[in-house]
Amino acid sequence: MTEHVSLLLGRLGPDALPFYSWVAFSGALVTLAGGVGFLAVVTWLGQWRALWTGWLTSVDHKRIGIMYIVLALVMLVRGFVDAIMMRLQQALSYNSDGYLPPEHFEQIFSSHGTIMIFFMAMPFMTGLLNYIIPLQIGARDVAFPVLNAISFWLTAAGAGLMLISLVIGRFSTAGWTGYPPYSGVEFTPGVGVDYWIWSIMVSGVGTTMTGINFVVTILRKRAPGMLLMRMPMFTWTGLCSSILIIFAFPALTVATGMLALDRTLGMHFFTNDAGGNMMNYMNLFWIWGHPEVYILILPAFGIFSEVVATFSSKRLFGYPSLVYATAVIAILSFTVWLHHFFTMGASANVNAVFGIATMVIAVPTGVKVFDWLFTMFRGRIRFEPPMLYTIGFMCLFVIGGMSGVLLAIPPINYSTHNTTFLVAHFHNMVIPGVLFGYLAGYMYWFPKAFGFHLDPTWGARSFWFWLIGFLLAFMPLYLLGLMGMPRRMETYGNAEWQPLLIVAFIGACLILMGIVCLVIQLWVSIKYRRALRDTTGDPWDGRTLEWSMPSPPPEWNFDAVPVVTTRDAFHEAKYSGTPMKSVPQPGTLHVPRNSVVGPCMGFGGFCVGFGAVWFIWWLALAGLAVAVGALIGRAFVQNTEREVAPDLGAKTT
């Protein structure tokens, strides 16, 4: 069963094109049209130069942050299309094949999960960290601006691999977890799993460097007086998240790397025979995987903390508690990975210990919810869209927490594991928790980034659609799970499941409306940006340093770096009438020049991945050469900085 591998094109041949199903073919066309359309529009507007110098080669953390978020929003749409297709399939496929062949359905749940976690949630989070954290700590940039650009471009390269798998070849059918032995060549030959491996490996390297970058930035680049216990909550959660990235992502890189060795070089780490053991993969994967969910949700907690204090016009309640709770969650997140496979047959002692360890995390999490509640208590609450998302989160998240604790009880887990109860649980965490948090952050900080507000009416509409859509789409899955419905079902013969699955489909349609509202909101706000303009730089009566500068902030962030004397220093200064002191500034500042290293590394990383997927080894080597060459070349660049002279005279407040 040896494939034909040519020197020039590896195993790439005409059968790589998606003619196997009309649905996949249309998807490929839409993807292509999207790509070509984008290129056409940029050309038509004659904006190539502006795009290249203003964005693609920029190493400004704010620009990079925005590019991350654009990437995330595009991938959110793609991931959602996958989701609603699955919902439609299951609404139809009682005793029938539905409209998707099994192979295609399997690619869809795998790509949905992979996209949502790696290419929607991670870039969204990284984008927010990028934009906000340097501003919150009073820094002019991140510690390693060029490394930051490289991280972005590697993430984009991973996303590119993910997208191109729809057009050339197929995607994995092994789920977002890629468990062997199923994901080994014996059961899934072809390029699907390789696409999965290389897209997350390439982007994972970028993510690891992001983690390093932000730990160093936060520890080393704070304004004078910004002690750790004066840092805003979002910065704290960003710090913990970045530390988790540094410790967790290597496990993923190793696990997927070993899987790649099994698949490509015929090794036997995780195969059924020759001494391979797939249990090792599951341990490695979840040693990354559980911290990963906290990597995603801690920054969302940070956003909720900022939003709840700002829109309650009140100091954050229990700040030290929140800080300790965050740190405790971060540490404990490494101690619970086994709860993802209680059904593997470990002894009762082992399962009980991990079950209890898991529940312990509910303690600091519960504390956080109470602290937000007490922040609202005796506040003066404004229901702007970010606050709506926060309140929605608080009400829904506790439900997800409850199902999480149930799943952590091993005997209950034995009968709910692998069912839609689990699917409902984690969506209950990632939608109201992670996604609502990021959307709240997006609407909260948008005026800072662009100098005008997002339309609040459409924002509120999007919230209600997401909220109700979420409830309809996922509450039925709890019930279905208790009825024994497994996840990843392409078709089923159980009549009693269908009505609930139809409700879930309607829920997904409402979520679609929520996404449409987000698009309209952006459109309307750009159209009426004059009326929505923010001239103050502080549109929400904010508390933290990012609100002390004009919107959008200058490239160098702070005309003069402030001296911090207390928590919420900006808010204190605003109300006490004594402006913040600042560090004496030299007349001119240095900002990093643009660099092509990022795009080169991204391009190289993409070629390495694509080459390795298709066994086009010359391409993989060439990609590696480009990436390494770019790095070496960078070392010879002398003039890495540019002088700017902030106009200190024109400074406001």
Partner: protein, 263 residues
């Protein structure tokens, strides 16, 4: 349809759910209430913008979750041991059944009765059953949802599950772990029957004209979707253990040798 495990899990679930509702419902209600009462546009609450600390509140907000988790933790410890899937259920001597996951069906072997089936499982009501489980293919997960409990099936490894049905009837059992194209249809019927019916069923299987020899197994092992029920009159001794051992180390070397010779 119930069994002692399913019943105990149900009870535990309600108990834990109830305990948590005691906190979760007030939290949701309070969130909505506070949001309403302290709304900027016409709310009636006082505004205390600098109130950010209270020792009493801190102790309560750490104390309540600690207390709740402490209670839950004792239940976890106790119930995880009580409902350990490896623990043989009390009562009569358990019926031994061996389950082998194939693509995409289940092969069941009754070692004491020396019979086998594909995609049909029968056992006497009220008698404990001990399953030994393995896989010939990708990882599967064995479950009969109505009876509770679930355990992975992995090649070269053996896992165990103990179950029992309290009523007669037909249940659906299945693989819960996605394992490829035929996964959705990888179900089997689990029949809980009276002792007499069970004995009749056993004779029926014994009367089938196919033994599970190597040729039949090779044929059964081929991937197939929605495979029909089959009965095997006899099964070679130690069949299950040999299949488990098959995937472990040594044998592979030998296989490689013969493969190489054939190529």
């Amino acid at each position: 349809m119930t069994g002692p495990i399913a019943d105990a899990v149900d009870a535990l679930m309600w108990q834990a759910f109830g305990l948590m509702l005691v906190i979760v419902v007030p939290v949701i209600a309070l969130t909505l209430f506070i949001a309403w009462r302290y709304r900027a546009s016409g709310g009636s609450g006082t505004h205390q913008p600098d109130w950010d600390h209270s020792r009493a509140v801190e102790i309560t907000v750490w104390g309540i979750p600690v207390l709740m988790i402490a209670i839950l933790a004792t239940w976890v410890w106790e119930k995880t041991h009580a409902l350990d899937p490896y623990k043989v259920l009390p009562g009569a001597k358990p019926l031994q059944i061996e389950a082998i996951a194939l693509d995409w069906k289940w092969l069941f072997i009754y070692p004491e009765l020396n019979i086998g089936t594909v995609n049909e499982l029968a056992f006497p009501v009220g008698q404990p059953v001990t399953f030994r489980i393995t896989s010939e293919v990708a990882m599967n997960s064995f479950m009969i949802p109505a009876l509770g409990g679930q355990i992975y099936a992995m090649a070269g490894m053996e896992t165990k599950l103990n179950l029992q049905a309290n009523e007669t009837g037909t249940m659906q059992g299945r693989n819960m772990q996605f394992s490829g194209d035929g996964f959705a249809g990888q179900t089997f019927e689990a029949l809980s029957m009276s002792q007499d019916d069970f004995e009749a069923w056993v004779s029926k299987v014994q009367d089938s004209d196919t033994p599970l020899d190597h040729a039949t197994f090779a044929e059964v092992r081929k991937p197939s979707v929605d495979a029909p029920v089959r009965y095997f009159s006899t099964v070679p001794p130690d069949f299950f253990s040999k299949r488990v051992a098959h995937f472990m180390g040594m044998e592979h070397e030998m296989m490689h040798g013969t493969k190489a010779a054939n190529e």
